[in-house]
Amino acid sequence: MPVTKVGNPTVGDVPPKPEHLPFEEIFDAAPALIAVYRGPDHLCIYTNPAHNRAFGNRDLIGRKLRDACPAREDQGLSERLDRVFELGTTLEIPEFEVTLKVGRTQPTRSFYRQTLQPWRDAGGAIAGVMSFAFDVTEQVEARLRAEASERHLSFALEVGEGVGIFDWDVDRDAMKVDARFLIAFGLDPAKSHDDLPLKDFLNAIHEDDRTRVAAAVQRAIDTGEDYEEEYRVNGKGGADRHLLARGACLRDAQGNPNRFTGIVVDISKQHRDKHALRESETRLRTVLTSLDQGYCVAEMIRDAAGEPVDYRYIEVNPQFEQMTGLKNATGRRMLDLVPNLEDKWAKIYGRVAFDGKTVRFEDQSEAMGRWFDVFATPVLPYGRFAVVFRDVTAEKLTRESLRKSEAEFRTITEAMPQIVWATRPNGHHDFYNARWYEFTGVPEGSTDGEGWSDIFHLDDQRGARQRWLHSLKTGDPYEVEYRLRHHSGQFRWALGRAQAVRNRDGEIVRWLGTCTDIHDLKVAEEQRQLMLAEMNHRVKNTLAMVHAMVSQTLRQADNLKDASASIQSRIGMMAKAHDQLISSTWAETRIIEVVETALTPHRSGEGRFSLAGPDIAIGSKQALALTMALHELATNAVKYGALSVAGGKVAIIWSVERIDGDDVFSFSWTERHGPPVQPPVRRGFGSRMVENALAGYFDGKAELSYDPSGLSFNLTAPLAGLTA
């Protein structure tokens, strides 16, 4: 190619042949677009063939750039050249676009990377600028395409279910679709998909749905009805997309189907949501169905004044019928189902539905004959409410009857004179009636649990607790005697007893117990024991006395007949004395009665006895001894003394005198006008009795004196000795 050269420009001249530039050959061969400019006006002095080709062989040589390229077209090249020329620095333009319209052909767009470099003259001053440009169109366009495609993608993602359009030429079987359609079908919108047959798109549909969709399309064509189908499209990388397609087939003037147009919408998200919703609904339904409580959703109904008066059931679960006895309630109004239902129900549900209150309560409907445990809460939409409830009629009755029976229990236990207590099956005391607190004076509740045994006497605590634990373990009835501390501090004997209360299964559910005050009984029992012991002692003593009397009598008796008579009369006397004692409660008697009793068998009605003395008390022992002594004296007097003859007399005198500051009791027996007295040969029972024993009982002194004028006997003792 001939190289055009630049010389000095002359106006009107044909440009002179350019001088030969040293770099010409090299630049000529370079693939880069090279142009060399000289001077501040950027006179073009060289362009290489590549440059010429790119710029449509436009003749630039010998012309100033600004003249050759209008400002509109040069895209700032002149300014850049200016800058490089001035600053002397190299300038890199990574990319610039050139659109060239050459002839009738479409304008072409190209991209170049350009380097502008100053060149210097021999003196080192900047002489001009060189331009090297590289065609980077391909790279740039690729990049642009990629960017576009990304934009499409992100746009598609943004818009999501944007509506894609299809237009199917039925005769030609040619589909025209838009970008969104392609995106929906998972096809690359940057690639061309024009005029493809329908089959190509059908194949993108999930194989399970394909047949159906094809049939639906055909049906739309045949019948002219609207087309609407949901189907899945095979997704890349896993998830299928759900699409909704809608369309219709149009007919030409002849009535033949010629165009099928429509839209496609990606409903994957809605589908997912719906599926999730369906799943959660199914779950909910399962719960509601298997709930052991009644469940319903109802809508409040208001009257003209806006007051809640009724409600309509929207849905109920299976247990609803069971709990209410209302069949087929769904869709029906409550007042239709139960005409005489109490107002309170509509009122309270009205508050739930309209005021947004969540309530929980237990209440009765007499109209329905049931008790309900209700939980009600508002639900959307406004005016509706959900209720979860239970029929608790049976429980309520049980609770009522339980409460009544407990009230009865209390009434009885509080009225009982005994202490009543109750414990849990484990022995924890949780109830005492009023008697317990009245008796013990402890604060109410202070002996609950295990504190009960602190009220017991220390010596009785362990035994009682052992017995209690045994009963708890075995269920055996509990029975223990113990001393219980009265609030006065005194301990009183009590009998604690308890029985287990069992349920239908035989399990112990409670222990019911009583404490019965047996103190008086126990004390009486102790006294009885004492008395028995005392009596035993006395009986033994009496027997010993009888034994003594009998053995002595026998030792001294001359013959058995005398002995027998003697013994019998003496025993008779002792028996009489005992009778007398019992009639005066065995403790004390009056001395006059003792003397009278003792003398009765010996009286003859002739007034031979004279009695004188104060009316004083005498103890049982002393009474017995005196009786026996008098008996001996009288018997002796009848046999040998004053009473053995007519005219003989016995004077019995007793007195109490104060001698040296002490009260002294004296008792004397004096015989007169009897036969001469002689002391006995030996001491018999009688004399021993009178002289020794009697004094012993009175803690005093006794003396028998055998005075010739008559036997006399004298007893002196401290007054206290009479009743000691």
Partner: protein, 128 residues
């Protein structure tokens, strides 16, 4: 015939009639009898009369010292004294009695007592 005098018997019994009978029985057996109704009186008599060689006592006595206490005191004070218990009490623990003592439940047959007394007197005679 023993030349040594018979030991006297100290009868301690709180029931006068029974005491009286015991004294009568002992005296008819040929022994001298002293009597007391309680332990303190008995000790006084014992200290006053050196001829007492036998103690014949009930177990239940009034006052702070019973027959057993009295016996132990006597065993300590005059060990040569023989001891006979007579009692109507039930459940008496004979293991508590001093060694060599005798026990008779009431009512006791007189002859048994007398035999015992005489046996003791014989021993006593051998001792002195």
């Amino acid at each position: 015939m023993d030349t040594a005098p018979q030991p006297a018997v100290l009868v301690v019994e709180d029931e006068p009639l029974i005491r009286m009978d015991a004294v009568a029985m002992i005296e008819e057996a040929g022994f001298r009898a002293y009597e007391a109704g309680a332990a303190d009186k008995a000790i006084a008599i014992l200290e006053a009369h050196v001829d007492i060689g036998i103690l014949f006592t009930d177990i239940e006595l009034p006052g702070s010292m019973d027959g057993l206490g009295l016996a132990l005191y006597v065993r300590d004070y005059r060990p040569s004294v023989f001891i006979i218990f007579a009692s109507g009490a039930v459940g008496v623990d004979e293991t508590a009695f001093p060694v060599g003592s005798l026990f008779f439940p009431k009512p006791y047959p007189a002859q048994t007592i007398i035999d015992a007394l005489q046996k003791m007197a014989g021993n006593s005679a051998r001792q002195s």
